[in-house]
Symmetry: C2
Amino acid sequence: MSEKLPSNPTAAIIVIGNEILSGRTQDVNVKFLATRLGELGILLREVRMIPDIEATIIATVNALRAAFDQVFTTGGIGPTHDDITSASVAAAFGVPWEKHPETWARMERHYPPGEFNAARQRMATLPRGAVPIENAISIAPGFSIGNVHVMAGVPRIMQAMFESLAPRLPGGRPVRARAVHAKGLLEGRVAEGLAAIQARYPALDIGSYPYYRGDGGGVAIVAKGTDEAQAEAAIAEVSRLVAGLGHQPVAGEPPI
Amino acid sequence: MSEKLPSNPTAAIIVIGNEILSGRTQDVNVKFLATRLGELGILLREVRMIPDIEATIIATVNALRAAFDQVFTTGGIGPTHDDITSASVAAAFGVPWEKHPETWARMERHYPPGEFNAARQRMATLPRGAVPIENAISIAPGFSIGNVHVMAGVPRIMQAMFESLAPRLPGGRPVRARAVHAKGLLEGRVAEGLAAIQARYPALDIGSYPYYRGDGGGVAIVAKGTDEAQAEAAIAEVSRLVAGLGHQPVAGEPPI
């Protein structure tokens, strides 16, 4: 898809946290961000999931901020010893990691006297030049520095931070999807005809996805692109192809 | 964690598919593989999620197979035009992508006469030197070439392929986890004491994870390492720390 939309801005996500790589935690932030970025016309091109190791964070941030228009990180900005994202991003940019006066003052007011302790003060310490990402859920902000946007790992906090940030992101033409599915269809039967349709719609990304349900499976076919009319025309052709193979095409994705 | 277990083999996962980067599909393969690899004593160090673009697949496979002991890919080995993983891995290794005689013969026997068509024949076409990963669910196999293991994206097929492959993987000392959680606890209050415990157990990876439930949230603290007794001792110290802060420590992860 991304090859076919050269004018849309590109993005990468860095998911930071040992808990993802150990299997403790199921990431759900990638799907949310991928969907929202598509709506904003920003093409997600790569995701990297990495551990809480400073050298790895620095190398990954620097590789991806050079390769893509926008980089989003999730995780590692809390108050505990394993929260090293903020300091590591400062190191990646080669700037000091220092008290952010407005954030510090706001957090100090928020906590009862004596409770704005050293651990919480770390969350008011940002790379020099960072712009805080305020949000309605957590008193501690995320932040943007250059084209890197640093957000929490907890999904509801990350989502609030992203929505606060979204109006500042330069977008592109939104990506639109149309889909059709057919019960009992096998990919091996539809593949050849599908390749021919893809060849006729080079500006679209046409994907084929088998699904399995208690009452049997089938195949869903999705056409994506910035031209909604083209996506609709391609899916109409796919529907005729499926019907010609003796299966009933049903508009949209299969019910979950 | 991985920094602390230098003798265990390392691994990376490459999730291949536009459907992940567009937000259509929620990946669940990383969590499964991360958990199973930990049980085998293989440390998952990085995950990359990339689109169905040949040059990207080649570059990513070659970067990660040089950096880690084992590489697992998921997705892109079906019969349709967007399934380009197998041919791209052949290109990454600089070997021909060719008919695999045993797989070809087995698939030809499987389908009714005339149904082993060109699309399905692609699934019997493997990089030269690849060893098929047979499995109980799909007639089309995954395959291993060098330290790269190529598996399906559909979770139940991927899982069957992984279990078929697992006995061939050189493992290490299994990673063990112990956890405790406390309702109403805030990370900002436990952070300082937790950092001191982490400092006393340098061979462990101690992580702190806030959670949210309908009846209120809390913090879960997890200690991981190959020495189970150390993990237990560390979590006993964390439990005393939590109790000292006036919260009730409860063994294990919080109920979902």
